[in-house]
Symmetry: C3
Subunit: 426 residues, 3 copies
């Protein structure tokens, strides 16, 4: 009974047009060109590598897309159980009329050709958006992105700031900053000006959020211009920084970002908990992991210092979800944001979603984002989430609390879309 009810609710939720509040879409090439673009998603390359496919097989320079697909398909059998595999099959079925439930060495080539033909249609991007009911998609823009040449009403700019906070010591980062702003960073004051100028540029181009991913140990605090100056001068002189100095610079820049979010009225997406390059021999984008020993208490100073800034927070470790629920329940400026990466599988989404629905004000929950690199992934990823959401609505609201299906759907639609509109001022 509850299975039927959940299916009915999922079907209703499926009708709702979506705004995807976080992706890595390239607006100049949003949709895929071949199956290699789908199978090249790090979920497949890293899982295939984890299952034994050599990195050199996957990342061979100059590898032909078709050959790449053939090699990956040869390893897909080992991944059939994964939820990521189910995304792939769903995309193939919905977008390319694939009628089987396994992609094998025997059937991939025909699918490859069918897909290539479909993807070559001039309106393929439009088709994908329409079939997926995606109206708007947030991007992840480098801070020096000119933000031109695409429709910023469809593809919403988002200022990604990892490089500024964690890689300012690289001369390349500073050069990009200078080119983007026309400001030569020579001290904390000019650094602040350059950052402000980025915010001006981004908000001039319909930017709706600032975002950053953060390691589990990050514990931001205010650093005065005077305090950061010595470390910053060392950095600008190209000297290697001590850990303390590097931390000071990171904190200074991070705090400046929060100040700009306040000034420019942008939500600041915090994606908390990733350790980069834990497995440096892994495939591209398949090297990062995490340390569950991380707490939102590390953000206490920040959250108190910027009551006027909304912080949509994602946590990488599912064990951090209860803290996220509790901090969102107490702090007016904390909002739950999606189900990120290693927590983005039904087993974890279920508990995380249920706890949020039970304890965080309904206006403070951003249900889901795709995190996708290619447009076709929006459909299966949102479908996965909608099923989990529908199950939670069915069991915890319709059955356990006696809500009508209509009322449960209202709640579902709010976390799926309504809150995105309101929180990001769409």
């Amino acid at each position: 009974m509850s299975v039927e009810l959940a299916r009915r609710l999922a079907l209703e939720l499926h009708q709702l047009p979506l705004i995807d509040p976080h992706s890595h879409i390239n607006p100049h090439a949003a949709a895929s060109k071949t199956l290699a673009d789908l199978l090249g998603y790090h979920y497949y390359t890293e899982l295939a590598h984890s299952a034994g496919l050599e990195k050199s097989q996957i990342e061979e320079p100059g590898l032909d897309p078709k050959e790449k697909v053939q090699r990956l398909v040869g390893k897909l059998g080992d991944l059939e159980n994964t939820i990521q595999y189910s995304w792939l099959i769903e995309m193939c079925q919905v977008f390319f009329g694939f009628e089987e439930d396994r992609l094998t060495p025997h059937n991939w080539e025909r699918l490859y050709d069918t897909a290539a033909a479909r993807m070559a249609q001039p309106d393929w991007e439009e088709q994908v958006l329409r079939i997926s009911r995606l109206e708007q998609v947030f991007l992840t823009n480098d801070f020096d992105d000119p933000l031109t040449g695409f429709d910023t009403n469809r593809y919403i700019p988002c200022l990604r700031t990892d490089d500024l906070v964690f890689h300012l010591a690289k001369s390349q980062t500073r050069e990009r900053l200078e080119q983007a702003t026309g400001i030569t960073v020579s001290d904390s004051r000019s650094l602040s000006s350059a950052i402000s100028k980025l915010f001006q540029h981004f908000t001039d181009h319909q930017c709706r959020a600032c975002a950053i991913s953060l390691p589990p140990s990050f514990t931001p605090g205010p650093v005065s211009a005077a305090a950061v100056e010595p470390a910053l001068q060392n950095l600008l002189a190209g000297h290697p920084l001590s850990l303390d100095e590097a931390t000071q610079v990171s904190h200074f820049v991070f705090w400046k970002l929060a100040e700009c979010c306040s000034e420019f009225k942008l939500p600041f997406d915090l994606m908390i908990g990733v350790n980069r390059r834990v497995y440096p021999d892994g495939v591209y984008q398949g090297q990062d992991l995490f340390d569950q020993r991380c707490s939102l208490i590390q953000y206490q100073q920040l959250l108190n210092a910027f009551p006027q800034v909304t912080f949509p927070i994602s946590v990488l470790a599912s064990v951090s979800n209860q803290e996220l629920v509790s901090y969102s329940w107490i702090f007016p400026n904390v909002v739950t944001n999606g189900h990120w990466w290693y927590s983005n599988i039904p087993a974890y989404i279920e508990t995380d979603c249920r706890s949020r629905l039970q304890a965080v004000p309904q206006t403070k929950q951003i249900g889901y984002y795709s995190d996708m690199y290619k447009l076709e992934f929006g459909l299966p990823k949102f479908t996965m989430y909608r099923r989990v959401l529908a199950k939670a609505l069915a069991e915890d609201f319709v059955i356990a609390r006696g809500w009508s299906e209509e009322r449960a759907l209202e709640l579902g639609k709010r976390v799926l879309r309504g809150n995105v509109e309101r929180i990001f001022k769409m």
Copy 2:
């Protein structure tokens, strides 16, 4: 089928008269006087504030109760999804005959008046207890509570000791201690005597437990009288203490409490894991949060040093629950105690309750306490727990292990009530 079975079991459990082993009831004003007493519970004020209602709106000095309710009701729409909202509606329906499922700007006033009339009945407190099947309710008494003027057989005194352990440096605390005991604290010896005297006073008045809430970092150990003396003298002289000194004093007092629990044969309720004033601009009682990085290994010395003291332990973070299960399974003197605060929502109670039922001796589980400030909350909070408990009994015992419903109910009744009687020697 399992839904029906769980409903049947919940209904049976509902018949059982309860002893509530932890609350914040004021025995001189146990029941509510107006709806403002219900909506003034920190769950509603903090959630409304989190959803955007200004603290000044909620805590305006001299605010009329009716006006306060109106303001809060105006924000309740944002909280309709929360389990706390469902408590409110259940109370209104059961106690005041409310027939709607939403409390809105349009219907609240009539309810307010109905409720006020009911609450004004001279036997309202008796009615609430009877309807809620509450026989006895544990209190949370300040250490200097005279414990007079109420029926200590109905409202069971419990010695709350946070102030002694964490706020002895405040002159006010020491003055209260002197007034309560007639002992002027001048050194570790007189401090010990004063504490003993409190235990004598409390046990003379039917006190059944000593209790304390503890921060995630707390790691108690024995401190000798000689070792604490310098720090204590600094404290008594009003000098600011170093972190080390403050810790020494806290540990000394805490250890003394455990010794008194042993001497006076009182269980020592440990409520582990709360960080106070994380959000200092929050509403009253809506400022505390936690750090999940906490372990029961921190209590290893304590648990080994006091084998004769029973420690009913509550953990604030659900991720600590497996440790609680495991420590209760190994240590004879550790008992699981309820589902506390941020873990007191069905999504977390479910897993926490199931794991306890599967791995902790049935005699060592205190199923639930209300933690309530006003008597009306006992009903919906215990109901929430009973539903989760009934579901666990249905699925994990009747269905999965083939138990009869009667046998499952026996287990349920034991954790709901039987263990409270035995562990607290009622």
Copy 3:
């Protein structure tokens, strides 16, 4: 419906002959002789002790087995809810024709005699293996085990190395090492030679894995022979070691083990997260607990340094499971291994099993091991796991993803058995 489906799948999985990849079976006395061997399992003694039975009652020197059973049965009532109790009843029913569902002071003696008679049959061990469908069982062998006098094709040797890594400072350990290898350890070089010789001996006797259990704080790294030499000389001279020195020696030995695993092509089972002797007054094997603050990031260096070694990893804390899932999904040499000890109850296995099935390549999951000391426990422990696995297959694959039952069973059989064969090269 899903309950029926899960039952059907569990029944099918029950037909599959098993290889148990981790146990503590004594191959010279694999099966039990009396009920005391079953009730003497630490799960029962520690739970009975936790529920109030004195340790002296359980571990009285020279205690008659029958008397021991009588004493434990007297306390079993308190444990009836535990999953461990359900194992006991299942064994009694299947192996001894017990027809009741409770073991009580009134019915235990007849069962004791029946069981003793059955266990006295010359082919009892064969009967248990046949009824349990156990084909091969991995052992946990001391490093100085001669590995003779039993069928190493049925009972598979596994080199357990805790003593070498953590207790080399005990002269007894070094004497055992010398006796086993004929090598007198006088420096890091001879220590390395002795360890290599153990691997040669074990692999000569069909050993299929090296294994170790590790405390939550363990963070291995390489230590050169030169660097360890001073600490090692202190150790060999019988001097007490500083914490740093002890760590150096542990890390040196551990790294050498990993090198040998590489050289001798053995998987290295890591069982991560146990604190020993947390409750030193507990019964035998009922003294260990854990600290949930532990991360697989601590093994980053190891996993990168030995890409050619397979690491089947078990985690003691369920909160570590998401890390295990994620590290297995990224690192080719990490494999999930069973559900260990305090995580070995259905409430935790469920989520842990589901998350693995959803995100780790199906070839990289070792579903379960018994960890048993006596052969009779294989049946109820694997049955518990099979039920959870069948439920996950039913709900997450057949129902949620539309898989056929056959396909779901293939997946189940692979994690139950197929992967054991392949990963341990049976």
